[in-house]
Symmetry: C2
Subunit: 124 residues, 2 copies
């Protein structure tokens, strides 16, 4: 797992999800929002607003505006690919929470487990 591993209060995880076996999820905005809602509930991220766009003929973008920053997803069913980001500001001591979230996301999408990029954003 790549991490620049600075002391920080902001962590940004970049997940490029490939080889997805749960392909229905790529076209299901309701289920993706359930997934995001579950993450926010479990880890106490506060959802302030959401927006989404359903592309024709396929593909979904969903953006969550959080008290802690944001979550985004862009799905590309035609490429069996989704680009998912979680960026939250909190006093993190390590990457454990993000590693748990990554495992959950991989499990739900039935995607290939790779190395997400976790970037400690500057926060002076």
């Amino acid at each position: 797992m790549f991490s620049n591993n600075q002391n920080t209060s902001g962590k940004h995880m970049i997940c490029d999800l490939t080889n997805i076996k749960n392909t229905e999820l790529l076209n299901d905005n309701t289920k993706i929002k359930e997934l995001f809602d579950n993450i926010c509930k479990k880890y106490n991220y506060t959802i302030l607003n959401r927006m989404e766009h359903i592309f024709e003929p396929q593909g979904i973008t969903i953006l969550y505006l959080l008290s802690e920053s944001h979550i985004s997803i862009h799905t590309f069913p035609e490429r069996n690919y989704a680009a998912l980001d979680i960026y939250t500001c909190r006093e993190y001591e390590n990457n454990n929470i993000y590693e748990e979230i990554y495992e959950y996301i991989i499990k739900e999408f039935k995607a290939k487990k790779e190395e997400p990029i976790i970037i400690d954003r500057n926060f002076f």
Copy 2:
């Protein structure tokens, strides 16, 4: 400038803006949207939706949902810091457009010029 430099159609630039001299911009959602609108107009990114949140006592989040993916900013006036991301999908041959955008952002915020992270997102 860090770049993983794969062949890709998706580029994600992560800008941690520090030492900002144009501190008024950190609290001016209208001017930040003008800045984003200018970028989208100049580089032909299509804005599908926007959302924003003004935090109390300070700080702004603005998210742009684009045809090409998204733009986000989270400002922290109390830390003279802003976290800005631009992620767009297009057939890029190099980082030139993002380097131009970065220069424009730095100029507008009068921020310290650093090395933004530019990540080529997988796009199979």
